[in-house]
Symmetry: C2
Subunit: 531 residues, 2 copies
């Protein structure tokens, strides 16, 4: 996942909430601004009946092809595909396209975009319904230090308390689960001749860059996608304890740069930095940026842009029920959660429920980066002619990127900072699927079959451009799977292949079984929901 | 000069004021806070009689050794001595020491410090008085682009409207004028057997780093320096039009880093950056730094630290007379000054006199650099665990570094920002010599002899640790010389060697003649002032 939604792939989002299923409801919730939880019911995935499908012949095939399947994952991670550095991108795109062709996908193609190509393939199962499988074939760059194996060697190593893992860039983010899904599909085709549903694989090679051109890929296959009934994204969702989790949406985002620079009206050097002593008689773009930024938050760092939260709708009954389900027992988990984040408290002293509510239902205004002048070691005295802040805001339902930008612009103007330039670098709305959608319930049923009762979040705090499916195409979208990995954007990324005895983590064969069942279960759900 | 006092060597400080000698006084000066000019008299260097000494034999010797003297400058600039990169530093220190020995200095030595070595030499002329010559043997790093010659080739090239120049790193900052001074001394010794005054050369190799260890060099030779009567620093002071200028002091400085980081009390991630979406529930050190900084200035960027200017004494009568002398005709010059700085106006709409008064008499609070999180191109969403501002304040008489720091600390504490760490990176007080000091008048007399009527600034806006002479040792200190150069901290640094016909810029021989006269003139002044 991109840096925007890293938390999907790292365990501290849903996973951090996932062990919180024990205590009583908290109807008297002391909420951050505008987040009021009045619903007293809590969603509990155990209310969904376990999926009863059984595909013994397919499972046997999975056992049979076990070694080959591990090799498939290795083959994928051995092909570098670093989108930020355009390293191996073309090769990986071709590899994916060719793998789809071998599986029986037709019309397979690289999809040219303004950036890295997308990959398309259509599996015609002669079915009435069609499932889109979203994939990303790119990976994060390699950290210069910290790797204990070659990041592209496809190493299988024994990790204490985990078992045998595939340790490589892309192992869990996202090649491992994606190829495991294709392995499952392969076994289905080998035993049953075809999958129970038509499939469209629509992959991108720029997820780690924030999916800037994925809408182009979607637009190109618009006609084919209009016939689809839902979208699925394969993902390892088990945490280290083996607990799986589910989320039903993502926040939107608007990412901007705010720049102050030397200006004929507000003064300051326009051409280049000048000597620092000139602060006596020249205006400073750096101070100007600081003062402008300071009008956007309170001294405590809370959003102070008038009306910024006005558009946000209150959590609806479903979201409140999901929230209640998630935060049961949250108090008992908060020390662990904070430790995982390296923080000593929640924002401005919020309690754990307020923090969780903010993460799910509130917008943000975050400084991603600040830069002006001399940033090296020691002493250099200059008055910089420009200063830049990188700022992002996560958007919840009813917020839009342009509306958010307009409110920030308006506040800066009102405070006299008309000269501060705002450059929008990216922006898209949130996306969400209902817990009551047949697709969601089908997935939950499969989790139930495998002994999981996943906490279900209405959304995560991170962002991804899933609106292209949920909003542009009006399709329900779910993501999930068994399996555990970590280190998505860090050294020593891994996915567990053979868990240690006694572990609740699924091994590769179990991960693939889950996908087999899910294919049939989702297919049933699509039939049931009709179109 | 270091980045702190770059403006000594570039033409926009005094030089920018130097053509302002035409108009009436402005007794009704509308001043920035606390700067009130009540004095109506203006200092005019033409009131100082021209020096009448004549050293025809020495001048003849200078003519004779002209080519050798140019070669000496070339030899110096061909030896790299980049203090920031420790490139050629040891070699240049040895070269200087050996040159001093060859001239007849005794006890010459490299002076070990915690950083780059100093260089010491004593010329015993058997005189009653002793002049310290401050030198710096280090230079700025080479800019990666923009040089039209090899920066260490010692190239002599013809520049339009200037004439033949030595174009090299260090040509004007400060090897050119320093070696020209030693050439002059050489000619004096060759013709007269010895200089008229004992000399102590005390050089440093860290001027471009802010002279962090020069006090160690001074301390080591404290006893010898106690016998000295004054200090001189050779410098090209002519601007492109040939107008020389003089300054009598420097501001002090305190340079600090302000850092906000994840903190048990104020929150935020303590270990490393976290995902940007966590801004919903974690505190942000970056916002905290922004809000803390915002308490130090007004929205317009004026200092808002209570009491920050309280210690500053009003400009005394001498300073006011000097100021009045400098700003005569300032209005006519301001467009040129602003253009030189690349700015459209003075700070917050000050007029040119207010701006000049602020530069001379007011303190500053300047952001030299800001850095947090991701500062590269494009989109990366993180919540940085630390944010740093590099801030410097220029100090005028009666301010001290520690007092300035304490006031900033107090303001941050009062506004609830106790957690912002302030790290002092350097600090020293201002330095100043009187226009009525015999040394100053002697130098002015020599300028007068060469047809110059330099504007005399009580100080410059930049800083240098001259307090070690003026305050620690109680010595008057002056800097000056004829000669023109530019590009001190920029590509294509040069010093004019043979000016174009009709130019008022002094050629190398004339620069050396000035130093010959100055040696005798200063010697006379030291005798006159007694000790």
């Amino acid at each position: 996942m991109s840096s925007r939604c890293r938390r999907i792939a790292t365990p501290f989002t849903i996973a951090a909430l996932s062990a919180s299923l024990m205590l009583a409801l908290s109807p008297a919730f002391a909420a951050p601004p505008q987040i009021v939880i009045t619903e007293t019911q809590a969603f509990d995935a155990s209310s969904v009946p376990a999926y009863t499908g059984d595909y013994a012949d397919v499972y046997a095939q999975l056992d049979k092809q076990r070694e080959a399947d591990v090799a498939q994952l290795q083959r994928w991670v051995r092909q570098p595909s670093i989108s930020a550095q355009n390293k191996g991108i073309a090769q990986m795109a071709e590899l994916l396209r060719d793998d789809l062709s071998k599986l029986g996908f037709r019309d397979t193609a690289l999809v040219p975009t303004s950036g890295h190509p997308g990959v398309y393939g259509y599996y015609d199962a002669g079915a009435a319904h069609t499932l889109v499988v979203y994939m990303m074939y790119d990976v994060q760059p390699i950290e210069p230090t910290g790797w204990k194996v070659d990041a592209f060697a496809g190493s299988l190593i024994d990790e204490p308390k985990l078992g045998k893992v595939l340790m490589a860039r892309g192992a869990t983010n996202q090649k491992g689960p994606q190829r495991a899904f294709l392995n499952a599909l392969d076994a289905v085709i080998k035993t049953r001749g075809k999958p129970p549903v038509n499939l469209i694989v629509l992959a991108e090679g720029e997820e780690e860059l924030g999916s800037p051109h994925y809408p182009e890929v979607v637009a190109k296959y618009q006609e084919q996608l209009r016939k689809a009934d839902g979208v699925f994204f394969p993902m390892n969702t088990q945490n280290r304890d083996g607990q799986a989790s589910m989320f039903l949406g993502v926040k939107g985002i608007v990412y901007m740069e705010l720049e102050a620079k030397g200006n004929p009206t507000t003064g300051g050097p326009q051409r280049n930095e000048v000597h620092g002593s000139l602060a006596a008689k020249l205006d400073s773009p750096s101070w100007r940026l600081v003062q402008a930024l300071a009008t956007l938050t309170t001294p405590d760092g809370e959003i102070a842009v008038p009306g910024y939260r006005d558009a946000i709708r209150a959590p609806n009954a479903e979201e409140q029920r999901l929230f209640n389900g998630i935060v049961r027992g949250a108090e008992g988990e908060q020390a662990k959660q904070l430790e995982g984040l390296g923080a000593a408290r929640w924002k401005n002293g919020r309690n754990v429920r307020e923090a969780a509510a903010a993460e799910l239902f509130d917008t943000t205004l975050n400084i991603d980066g600040l830069v002006a002048g001399y940033t090296g070691e020691g002493v250099k005295t200059i008055l910089p002619h420009r200063a830049v802040a990188k700022v992002d805001s996560r958007l919840v339902p009813n917020q839009t990127p342009d509306q958010a930008l307009a409110l920030i612009r308006k506040q800066l103007d009102a405070k006299g900072f008309q000269d501060i330039e705002i450059r929008k670098l990216s922006g898209y709305p949130p996306a969400q699927t209902s817990v009551d959608a047949p697709l969601t319930r089908a997935a939950l049923g499969v989790y139930r079959k495998y002994g999981q009762t996943p906490p279900v979040a209405p959304r995560i705090g991170g962002s991804a451009p899933y609106y292209v499916f949920t909003q542009t195409l009006g399709l329900p979208m779910i993501a999930g799977g068994l399996g555990h990995g970590n280190g998505a954007h860090a050294p020593n990324e891994y996915m567990v292949i053979e868990p240690e005895a006694g572990s609740k983590i699924a091994g590769l064969v179990q991960v693939e079984r889950f996908y087999v069942d899910l294919l049939y279960s989702l297919s049933d759900a699509l039939k049931q929901s009709g179109k």
